[in-house]
Amino acid sequence: GMAANKAAKEQKYDRQLRLWGDHGQEALENAHVCLVNATATGTEILKNLVLPGIGAFTIVDGHKVSGEDVGNNFFLSTNSIGKNRAQAATELLQELNSDVSGNFVEEVRAAGSTCLRLGAVLWNAEVPFLVCRTYGLVGCMRLVVREHTVVESHPDNALEDLRLDQPFTELKNHIDSYDLDSMEKKDHSHTPWIIIVAKFLEKWYSEHNFQMPKNYKEKEAFRELLRQGILKNENGAPEDEENFDEAIKNVNTALNATKISSTVEDIFSCDLCDNITAQTPAFWVMARAVRDFVRDDGNGILPVRGTIPDMIADSEKFIKLQNVYREKALQDASVVSKHVESLLQSVGKVCPPGYLLIMKFFKCVFIISGKNAAFLRVVRCRSLEEEYSIESVNKDEITSCMDNPDSEMVLYLMLRSIDRFYQQHSHYPGVYDYQVEEDISRLKVCVNSLLQEYGLSVSVKDDYIHEFCRCGSAEPHTVAAFLGGCAAQEAIKIITQQFVPFNNTFIYNAMTQTSATFQL
């Protein structure tokens, strides 16, 4: 029944739930993804979305499956030859995961600039668009999303939020409850390093005009102060106090001033944050609520994150200290949620009724305000129109990258050039053996006209022109599969609003196994 199915899903998705959580999985299962063209690249992307359980997919493709298609596409078989490609691929992708609903549309593909026209439609409809292509040993991905907000970016090496430079009242009281000088060795050696640093900081303040240790010299002096604080045995030699070692090790980062990063400040100063309306998306209502907290309640600082790293300490001292931070975080989150409520009310929206919805709402607020306020991110990609237009082409990025003639940027220029070639000759260069020789010079003409049209004074090595003819628009499966993995994860980031998507052009060179990201 339902419960058994839910349990089976939890087991099946266990390894990924540990990365994006149940709420991330829920977002995935409510997502509907559309794939245009069931090429090898397309089906490889979709495979990596079907396996983790997206809600639904639709494949749009008017082509009939050819022998060539079956040669590089794992999701087509010889039985598919002659069938509509969308239909054939849907069948073999569908059977990867019965939780997912797949369907297809047989649509005849218009020639040429479909991509730009589709891009314009999706831009206006505010639907995220990911353009992927494998061309020889080169893979390319372009993300087109007007504005993507990241609630949980899960940064790799984030600094802790300890507030030692400006301890909130409850933390101050807790620190005051310790008297290091009167402690027995056992307690002394198992006092959390946060408390130790705080205590010695007070000592330092009284001798340094209430200024934190600022430079290396002062931090070293502070470390020495800590060293002096280590208990000594009857012979005057320092005891083994690992918690003091930890304190000394953490001086560098623990004494940093608590402040709001420029990324978050930028988010606060966005228009969407200023003008809350009934249409404002949830992320911006939350961001504004956090901003109001910062201004009204937080003394210019974000809500407390509420987590502390593990450290040498006895259970009781650690748990008590951890709870001080946790409770403050909950308190702050509750204040933020009151701001959310009043913002919603001010635009005539009622807060979600009912206990369960309120809990879900609060959890949502807590996720944003507490653990993640410092890590909010907004990704804005330029439109395809902006990238392609002569007025707004990113000349600087292109020319500076091409200072290195083997930069992945040359591959981007080649991809733009072969599209130009196609427009002029109705085929890609070098598809047939007899074309290769002739197409090399024709492609060179396309490259030069592209560079001239955009006013790019860069030079493209002949080797790349030759290579892009040689590969004859082939789509090797392994390169398609690499891109398929990359693209699927970017789609998952968009859907779950977790982790940070790239901005906005990713090029993979399978010849050198290198890659680069450009903002074009």
């Binding site: 998705y13 990924q16 392994t478 990359c486 982790f499 993979y508 990201t517």
Partner: protein, 430 residues
């Protein structure tokens, strides 16, 4: 990645076999029949290599688990419980006509040189450093040296890939020529376990409570019978650990013990998704293609990938270690004072970052006879005759002189990390 090996053989010189169809090789032909600016000097354009990789052997001792299905796309829920190698072979053979995958539901260590020698390329997606080192050692053992120079025809390239969450790496190893697994052992830092005193008397995290139940309570209470060890794949066992961990946690006011966390800690679960595995597997396959065809320069020699924040790759040449214990052909020197005990030698073998042995067994030749100096006894109910008629605990406390070892003595050390014994030379410093 699937926790197994793929050992590929490439067809040579055969015209398209039965099972091919019109256009099948169109995408591939461009790279095999046409030379280009980036092909290697020894590349020979031609139609013969059209057959792709036909003969593939897959070695994997595991069976399919439901938690594999979120990424291991050759398996379906109906396959749960069946051997991975078998199901993978069936699926590929059916989906890719003409491909001949032979499954081996075994450990890589079950095979010897005669097996591995047959292959042109070895690709690994193993789940432990130990297994990687073993395979690395096996391919090194196949090398022939003439006048100190390696005979290139005995080199079997090793392509190795690994992933964890949203990070992964792929590397190409030419045994005897480029950096091997052991050359770069520091890239695999040893697993950090929680200190026992924290677990036993000073828990602070839910993980500490779980480890308490696993390491201390389970052996003491033997909840599922005498001698029944904790099986991470048994939900009843995990449930027991979970409940015990919860009890301990509430004793210390620790929150956060969940079933999922318990399972994660007990099984040392590494989060995994389809996308990262697809990326790394594809990178490995691309390298296999390059090696087989010389169509492009192979990766030289290590690729790192992460897509947590945007996408990031870093490619570098890992360097060979001059005195690598696996591939340098240089006899390993052991420097100890003459008063050092056998214990000290064992500690060095297991704790040195360049050796990281797991449970070394040491033998040596004394008075023309092969003597076992140390062998870890796992099952104490088994009786083992020791060369010196002394128990291991007494043996290890003896010095070199007491054991009859001379300066320059050669010690042969066997360990799970290598298929061949490693020879060490004992040098007494005082």
């Amino acid at each position: 990645m699937a926790d197994g090996d793929e050992l590929m053989a490439v067809d040579e010189g055969h015209v398209a076999c039965g099972g091919d169809w019109d256009g099948r090789w169109n995408h591939l032909k461009k790279f095999l029949e046409r030379s280009g600016p980036f092909t290697l000097p020894d590349f020979e354009p031609g139609t013969e290599a059209l057959s792709g990789f036909r003969n593939i052997h897959v070695v994997d001792m595991d069976t399919i688990d439901i938690s594999n299905l979120n990424r291991q796309f050759l398996f379906r829920s109906k396959d749960v419980g069946r051997p991975k190698a078998e199901v993978a072979a069936e699926f590929v053979n059916s989906r890719v006509p003409g491909c001949n995958v032979t499954p081996h539901c075994q450990k890589i260590q079950d095979f010897d040189e005669s097996f591995y020698r047959k292959f042109h390329i070895i690709v690994c997606g193993l789940d432990s450093v130990i297994a990687r080192r073993w395979m690395n050692g096996m391919l090194i053992s196949l090398l022939n040296y003439e006048n100190g120079v390696v005979d290139q025809s005995t080199i079997i390239p090793l392509i190795d890939g690994g992933t964890e969450g949203f990070k992964g790496n792929a590397r190409v190893i030419l045994p005897g020529m480029t950096a091997c697994i052991d050359c770069t052992l520091e890239l695999y830092p040893p697993q950090i376990n929680f200190p026992m005193c924290t677990i036993a008397s000073m828990p602070r995290l839910p993980e500490h409570c779980i480890e308490f139940a696993r390491i201390l309570q389970w052996p003491k209470e033997e909840p599922f019978g005498d001698g029944v060890s904790l099986d991470g794949d048994n939900p009843e066992h995990i449930q027991w650990v979970f409940m015990k961990a919860q009890e301990r946690a509430s004793e210390f006011n620790i929150t956060g013990v969940t079933y999922r966390l318990t399972q994660g800690v007990v099984k040392r679960v590494i989060p995994a998704v389809a996308s990262t595995n697809a990326v790394i597997a594809a990178a490995c396959a691309t390298e296999a293609f390059k090696i087989a065809t010389s169509a492009y320069v192979t990766l030289n020699n290590y690729l790192v990938f992460s897509d947590v924040d945007g996408l990031y790759t870093y490619t570098f040449e890992a360097e060979r270690k001059e005195n690598c214990s696996a591939c340098s052909q240089v006899p390993q020197d052991l420097q100890f004072s003459s008063s050092a005990k056998l214990q000290d030698v064992l500690q060095y073998l297991t704790e040195s970052t360049s050796l990281q042995m797991k449970s070394p067994a040491i033998t040596t030749t004394l008075q023309g006879k092969n003597k076992t100096l140390y062998l870890q006894v796992i099952n104490i109910k088994r009786s083992l005759v020791f060369s010196f008629s002394l128990s291991p605990s007494v043996l290890v406390s003896l010095t070199g002189a007491e054991l009859g070892l001379a300066d320059g003595q050669e010690l042969a050390v066997a360990d799970v990390t290598t298929p061949q014994t490693v020879l060490f030379k004992l040098n007494f410093t005082s």
